[in-house]
Symmetry: C3
Subunit: 362 residues, 3 copies
């Protein structure tokens, strides 16, 4: 069961530069393409003639052409040409609403009537097209783990101390377990704020002598030095939005410096379910300092970090199987507070959607 | 459900030169072998002792020897030797009728009583052993697509314009959609003739300035020139026979030349179901001109062309799944006429067979 | 259905030297580890928090630490630490009795109350820690064949003439079919003795001019010559113990030499079911002569020999599928006597266990 009446990231814009792209989303094979005039479209990836994926075809002007017998469809999935015949079949390839926003192509897999509401695209995913920030994209296709497990992973930073000790995970991660409601940055505390479909938490650690090496590296690169060896001040703001968006805004500076003079990095993550037990994971890393030469290391860094999570997530999914983790009655730790809140929000969204209309089946 | 009371290609003759060959046919594991005296045999690929595939053993004189404990069976599947014991089990490995004809080893998977009727082996598959034609063999093992989808593909040449523009597919393919019943070659027309279990169509295109590059290449190689740049005349005769045989007889010549002075190539294709959703594809390319040095390019060409079809067919099968394409209510194009006739012939054969006897189960 | 109230080989001791080891045993994911003080432990390979395999973590002192959130468990599976919280969950990871004996780590997958009985660990598996014998270990992980098929294979030496003619399998293997009850070595005969859960057979072949090349090689290496070309005397004692242990004790010497002056090699084999249709195969080869330089060739030899069995066993399993070989009503050969006795012993053990308690399900 998927939440359908919400926007998911379908693709990075440049993925459509070389023609149609096939990708399974919410267990549905989708073809994404951009027409000559720039219109982005998502259709079911199946020509109604012989069921061949349209992603094996090509874009011809404003149409997509099936690679098998040359039939053409417009961006809404209507037949526009069947080679050698004048009448056109009166059927449509199912189409899905898309929108380009905040640097991604988004898709709506639910009731098309409701797709006009863009509010489920979180504003904290904005920095990709912000003039004062630059950075890059990356993604992992078909991670063999349910989107909810990746969601837990990204949002629950306590794992970083054990999985990512060489980058994000220092002892400052333990602050995550000293939480209280609030919207302020408080040294050695984590404050959190829960909204209808968003959760934000803030974590501050001043005067760090050790800690995650990544934060020290931010300060060093920000100062243009090989290695800054003094104490570090860190602010971390994490925004999560239902069903599967997480943004980490990091601010690091030499100890005692004003927060507004810190260098900032924002890592944004979007998970799109491929099937009930596999996912596409899109990420971006943007920064407000340094030149273009820093983009590569940042993006490769996010990739390398997820390469550490991937075997854990896939082994976790394999242990869980098809039943879902709740059926296994997992033990809770104190640090689970926020990802459990996030799961509760997603479950409520799913229930509300199911109550209104039975599951859309394809 | 398979048509069983018919002959299928089981193997190319030379495939048995190096010993027993295991191949799944109609979902049944089969071992094919040739005894010392040259008798070809097909048995269920399973020793009745410990169920090890007999294809892991070897031919010993007139017998096949299991590779595990050395039991020997004759070409009819009877025990002939159990090492170290004098009495032999009174059971038989199931055997299947085989025949060598028109350059292939054929197998009969249905009622053995009816196997004496060789009429389902189409005569248009003859050219492999014709003295005035020479050529070569090739095959693809275990294509992940139902035999019927490959059948459609081979028989429906309209796809060549989109899938094979560099070889068979030029604008002359569009003639296929201008069809009328008949048995004559008519310029810019396709005539077709439907018999009980065969369909033939003829297509003529005179004075081609462009068109599929393969036809021009035939003319060039026939004239012994690097590149013939004049107009080309083409006759194409396609014979299809149930359940899954297709022969393309091509005649190409410089424009205005008599048809009987054209050079001819015949590409023959036989599909043998491996399972309900996978197939073995056997092909031959023979020609009546040129020397042995032309055989390689022809055979490699047929292979390269099917390499273009393979990803389409396998993606098509994946989109269809186990239900069969009819259950998905596909849209029909005008160009589907003949492969739908072919499908109807196969369905009638299957129904007739089912009516006479319930499905043979193994 | 597995026999559970018995000891299986879980691992070679040195496999735990580099940290926790994940291995599926009787369809249950298990983590094996050795604590700093040397205690060996087997737990279900699943942290009860987020179901991540504990084998992805590490040993910390006397505990195993989950690699995801750092929770620690003692060797009995009790929570000992949850980072950042003082109360510990009152649940346990399921633990399994283990014992180190005769050079292996053994695991008990059945009723823990009965695990104190070590009698199912056969004494004929002893030679690994015998001061006068030296040798080495090897194993194959996840052979795609039921343990019972590998059991049959190891215990039924008639296959060696066909599968291993270059090593163990000469004409002397035929003696196996000239069997009579007894416990003596009789030239050109095989005597066998059947106990409650053990079967022993002895086979003697004196004055061999040909025969399995391995026995001649034993004599040559024992004499320190390049190639001994005289006749060979061979004694072979095979002990099988339920459910899946087989030991081959070979004694080879120049013809006419006293048996107690022959050189001896003992190859021991233990099969542990991974799933109903796959197995782990552990082997050791030890000898009572020659130096350390002979260990490598012996162990590589056993490996090479099983590489010949593996394709047969896996193809056999594939032909059988999930139904079990008995359902296919296999034909019996005279040489099947002993492995059928062994199968009967295992079936009786399983039935007795099922009668006492319904299958333990996890």
């Amino acid at each position: 069961m998927f939440i359908r009446n919400t926007w998911y990231v379908a693709a990075e814009p440049q993925e459509l530069d070389s023609g149609p792209l096939g990708r399974t989303i919410l267990s549905t094979p989708i073809v994404l393409f951009r027409t000559e005039s720039g219109q982005v479209s998502a259709l079911e990836n199946r020509c109604p003639h012989r069921m061949v994926p349209l992603s094996l075809g090509k874009v011809v002007g404003e149409h997509i052409q099936c690679g098998y017998h040359g039939a053409q469809f417009d961006a809404q999935g209507s037949f526009k040409l069947v080679p050698g015949q004048t009448s056109l079949p009166n059927v449509c390839v199912r189409s899905f609403p898309t929108v380009v926003k905040h640097g991604y192509i988004w898709i709506w897999m639910g009731d098309p009537e409701q797709a006009t509401d863009l509010s489920s695209i979180p504003d904290f995913m904005y920095r990709g097209d912000h003039p004062e920030w630059d950075g890059g994209y990356g993604h992992f296709e078909s991670i063999q783990a349910a989107y909810s497990l990746i969601n837990d992973n990204l949002f629950d930073i306590t794992h970083a101390e054990y999985v990512h000790p060489g980058s994000f995970g220092g002892e400052e991660m333990r602050i995550y377990r000293r939480s209280e409601p609030g919207i302020d940055f408080i040294d050695q505390k984590m404050t959190y704020d829960i909204q209808e479909r968003e959760i934000t938490f803030r974590l501050r650690s001043l005067g760090m002598e050790h800690g995650g090496p990544f934060y020290r590296w931010m300060v060093s690169t920000g100062m243009g030095v090989e290695h800054y060896s003094g104490k570090v001040d860190l602010d971390m703001r994490v925004d999560w939005g239902a069903p599967s968006f997480t943004s980490f805004l990091l601010n690091a500076r030499p100890h005692g410096e004003q927060a507004d003079r810190g260098v900032q990095v924002c890592n944004m993550h979007a998970i799109t379910p491929e099937t009930e037990a596999s996912s596409h994971y899109f990420y971006r890393s943007v920064k407000n300092y340094g030149g273009q030469e820093l983009v590569g290391p940042f993006i490769q860094g996010v990739r390398a970090i997820f390469e550490q999570d991937k075997p854990i997530l896939e082994a976790q999914q394999k242990n869980i199987g098809t039943q879902g983790i709740a059926a296994m009655r997992p033990v809770s730790f104190a640090g689970d507070l926020l990802f459990q809140k996030a799961r509760a929000i997603n479950e409520a969204l799913l229930e509300a959607e199911q109550a209104l209309a039975p599951a859309v089946t394809l």
